[in-house]
Structures are given as C-alpha cells and as structure tokens.
C-alpha cells in the first residue's frame, strides 16, 4: 500500500472539494438509462413499473377544457413509457374521460396501453358482466388487459365471472383490490385460494402493512402487485412541504420528494407497478422519471423509513 503523502492528501482533498459542484444524475442524463419494467409473474410479460391511477384526477365530467388537460397528461404518460392505466366505475366519469382521451390520441401513442379497470356493483341485482361491458364501451377497448374485483365487493359473485372470462379470453388478467389497508385478511385468503394474476393494495413509505404478509405471499404465489396511494393522496407531499431533500435523495437520483416516495414503492421487489394519479403534465413527467435511474436497495430503504419517521 503506498504511503500517505502530503501530495496524496492534498490531491484527494481537492478532488473531494469538487464533488458538490458535479452535476447530479439529471433527468436528461437518465433518459438513456433502461426503462424500469417488471414482469407479470403469471406470464412473464413486462410492464412499466410506474402506471397511472385515475381516482379523482380523471373524474372531470363533461368539461371539455378539463378533458383536454387530462389528455395531455395521458399523452405525456405514454410518451415517457407508461403502460398501465387503472380506473373503475366507482370513479365517476373517469372511465368515460379515459376513453375520450384514448379516442383522440393517435393510435401509435397509445399502443403501449395496459388497460386495467374493476367491477364494482353497489346494489344486489346489479350485473357485473353488464357493468364490465359498459366499461369496455367507455374505454373503447375490445377487452381489458386486467379486470379486478374492486375492494373485494361481492367477490363471491364476481370472481367466478372473471375466472370464466379469462378462460374465454374476454380478459387477459384478473385480480382483486383493496385500499387504505382494509380487508388484508380477506385478501390474503383469496391470494392463497384463488387463481389470480394481480392484487392491488395500498403501499407507500408510511403505509407498509402489506410488507408483513401480503407482499411476501404475492411473491410466493407468483402474483403481480399494483401499489395504490403511493403518495397517500398527496398527504406525504404535504408532510414534507418546505423541507429540504434528504442527502440520500441524490444517491438514488431523486430530484423531488415525490420521486423519493415513488422510488421507495417501486424498489420493493414484490411491487410490479405503482399507480400515482395526477392532473398535471409536470407531475406526470416527475413520476415517469422514476422509470429510469437508480433505485434504493434494502439498506437505503431502511434509511428512508427512518428519515420519514424522524420528521
């Protein structure tokens, strides 16, 4: 080992002094990085690890100006490598608005669409197949890539229908959803006993209950996992408003707190796709940057959790 000389020490110190002035891994620098895609375990098909939710954000009714704005959000999503768009009949006019946007975007721009919606019947007697047919009409798709039982409502009726639909190739994948940490026990039972492809649940840097049982079970059973509420519907963003980014953000190429939170979610090995929702093109770009660049490893994730808990 060479001796530590004054020359070596001074040279090293000078090099270290330049570090703060070197450019961070910028979005432009990461543009050439490979897109983060995850396999759907049941088939091996890969989808982008960041998708798009439509809860509230795409429920704009018949306001054409707002619809046009959402179309630009969706256009940006697809242009930056997005695939999964998740919606539900429960989301008011969201399915209608998604379909309106898809109808107006050039086919070459929407070719990567992975259409995901849900069956959700409120009242006895409501027919799941009719609702799913209505959803196909609203989206303008001949069949969905993924159909899910929303919040496990009436799963006893709908899941057999979805299983039959998949066998008849009326849908490519089937799944179940919960949110806000509700009904995890019921979801666990279904994951163990039903032939599912996907589960959707709430997972973010503060809501990590799914790590205990559901995420490991999904990995064991070969189920794809969609993470909803990655920002706790902006609550996480509001919590850190005005606070400087932690030092580890630069290590994982996160320019903003939103990217810190989203990278945390998609860095879990069980997560196939996170579905943040936004009404803004700039926020969509921010979200989609997460598809490129480094992700936190297990040790970094622990540091991230500790940092959030310290706030």
């Amino acid at each position: 080992m060479p001796a530590l000389t004054r020359r070596t020490l001074l040279t090293s110190a000078a090099a270290a002094a330049t570090l703060p002035f070197l450019p961070l891994p910028s979005a432009r620098a990461q543009e050439g990085a490979p897109l983060l895609r995850r396999p759907i375990p049941s088939t091996g098909e890969e989808i982008a690890a960041v998708g798009m939710g439509t809860w509230i954000t795409f429920n704009v009714g018949s306001n054409e100006a707002l619809r046009a704005e959402r179309m630009e959000v969706l256009r940006t999503f697809f242009r930056l490598g997005g695939g999964m768009v998740d919606s539900s009949p429960m989301y008011g006019s969201s399915e209608d608005v998604v379909g309106w946007c898809l109808d107006r975007l050039p086919p070459e721009e929407t070719a990567g669409l992975f259409s995901a919606t849900k069956v959700w019947t409120q009242f006895p007697g409501e027919e799941g197949p009719e609702q799913m047919a209505a959803s196909r009409r609203l989206w303008g798709v001949p069949r969905f890539d993924l159909m899910q039982v929303h919040n496990l409502v009436d799963w006893e009726t709908h899941l057999p229908t979805l299983i039959a639909d998949k066998a008849a190739e009326r849908v490519r994948y089937i799944g179940i959803t919960t949110s806000h940490g509700a009904r995890h026990e019921a979801m666990e039972r279904l994951m163990e006993t039903q032939p599912l492809d996907f589960v959707q649940l709430t997972y973010n840097i503060l809501d990590r209950e799914a790590e205990d049982r559901l995420l490991p079970l999904a990995q064991d059973r070969g189920l794809a996992v969609i993470a909803n509420r990655p920002y706790r519907q902006k609550q996480l963003i509001r919590m850190v408003e005005g606070r400087p980014l932690p030092p580890f953000a630069a290590e994982i190429g996160a320019r903003t707190w939103a990217q810190v939170f989203l990278k945390f979610v998609v860095s879990h090995p069980a997560i196939t796709c996170a579905i943040p929702a936004t009404t803004r093109v700039d926020h969509m770009r921010e979200n989609m940057e997460v598809l490129r660049g480094p992700l936190p490893d297990a040790d970094m994730r622990r540091r991230m959790i500790a940092h959030m808990q310290s706030l």
């Binding site: 509230i56 429920n59 704009v60 009714g61 306001n63 009949p89 429960m90 008011g92 006019s93």
Partner: protein
C-alpha cells in the same frame, strides 16, 4: 373520500347553471317569494308547494342530470330529494304548513337561515375559479335548498312538523361533510344548521299546544 375535487364540482355547477338558465334566476326569485309568503295569511300552502318544486327540480336535474356524472351516490340523493318533495307537496296540499313572520328566537333564526340560503350562499361561488357562474342557488342546488327549507320550517306558527325537517337536516350533514373534504370551511358550517333546526323544532313543539 370523494371521487372528485373542488374545482371539478364548481365546474359542474357552472355548467349546470348555464344549461338550465334562467332556472337559477327564477329559483332565486321564487325563494324570495317563499320568505315573503310568511307575511301573507295562508301563504304557507304556496310556500310548501314552491319548496316542493325546488326539491324535485334539484333532485332530478342536479343530482340525476349532472352530479351523477361525478358521484355514484347521486341517484340515492335524488331519491331522498324526491321524497322530500312529496312531503312538502303533501303539507302544502293539506294546508299543513302555516308560516308567519318570526315572533320568537326560533322564527328569527329561521328567517336568518332562509336569507343566508338565498342571498349569501350564491356569493360563496366567488371564491371559485368560475365565479358567480358556479353560484349555488336555492331551488336548483341542494345545499341552499336544504338551508332555505329549514329556515322556512322554523317560521311555522305553533307546532312544526319535524318530519319535514329530516331530509334537509341530514342533507346539511352530507353537504357540510362534502364541503369540508373539498376544503371549503365556510360551506362546511352548514353541518350546524340541521342539528340546530331539529333542536329548535323539538323545543318549540314541547312548548306549543297540541
């Protein structure tokens, strides 16, 4: 947990008002007439029937015709509004809504509530990006319709039929909770109106002769 945000709701109200214009203007004038009927002997019948039309209109055109686009609960709300319309129509046709000028605190509070519903509530839209185009007017929009009705019920002479206050009182809780979630603290204050009105009704009925 609402499936829409405040901006979209304001946009919907603005579109609704535009689509049905001049209904909001007519409704405002009829609402003022309802209050004025308290000073007219036997005016309760017309007041009840006008209010009934307002509830039916709001239920059908607002809840079913517009709000259902945004909120899966809208058809349920429409049903409740139509029930209230029937209750008021029955009271009106049977001449069982005897209103008069306020003679006690209950009446004065009722008058105040009615005037807030008619004259103040529409102005709250000025805080939205759509301005007065998104004004919520009693007789066409649910929140001020409920407030106006509670106010008029408190103008009843003698015993007040509390049944006619149930749907409006419950709606102030629904409307107030919605406003709170959407970040409108002023509109959220309506949650106080329903319980207050029910309390005043029971107090009045305890004292009034059968």
């Amino acid at each position: 947990m609402l499936p829409f945000d405040a901006d979209v709701l304001a946009s919907l109200v603005a579109q609704y008002n535009g689509a049905w214009f001049p209904a909001p203007v007519v409704a405002l004038l009829l609402g003022l007439a309802v209050v004025g009927l308290a000073w007219r002997p036997g005016g309760g019948r017309a007041a009840a029937l006008i209010l009934a039309v307002g509830w039916a209109w709001s239920g059908i055109t607002f809840h079913l015709g517009s709000f259902a686009e945004l909120n899966f609960m809208a058809p349920t709300y429409a049903g409740a509004f139509l029930v209230q319309a029937l209750v008021l129509a029955w009271l009106g046709l049977r001449r069982r809504l005897d209103i008069g000028p306020p003679v006690d605190a209950t009446g004065r509070i009722g008058l105040g509530l009615a005037l807030v519903a008619l004259l103040v509530w529409p102005l709250l839209a000025l805080t939205s990006a759509y301005g007065l185009a998104a004004a919520e007017v009693a007789g066409t929009a649910p929140d001020p319709t409920a407030l106006l009705t509670l106010g008029v019920l408190l103008l009843v002479r003698g015993r007040i039929r509390w049944l006619a206050a149930v749907v409006p009182a419950v709606w102030t809780l629904v409307g107030g909770a919605t406003a709170w979630v959407l970040g409108s603290e002023i509109q959220a204050l309506q949650v106080l109106a329903g319980p207050l009105a029910i309390a005043l009704i029971f107090q009045r009925n305890r004292r009034a002769p059968e």
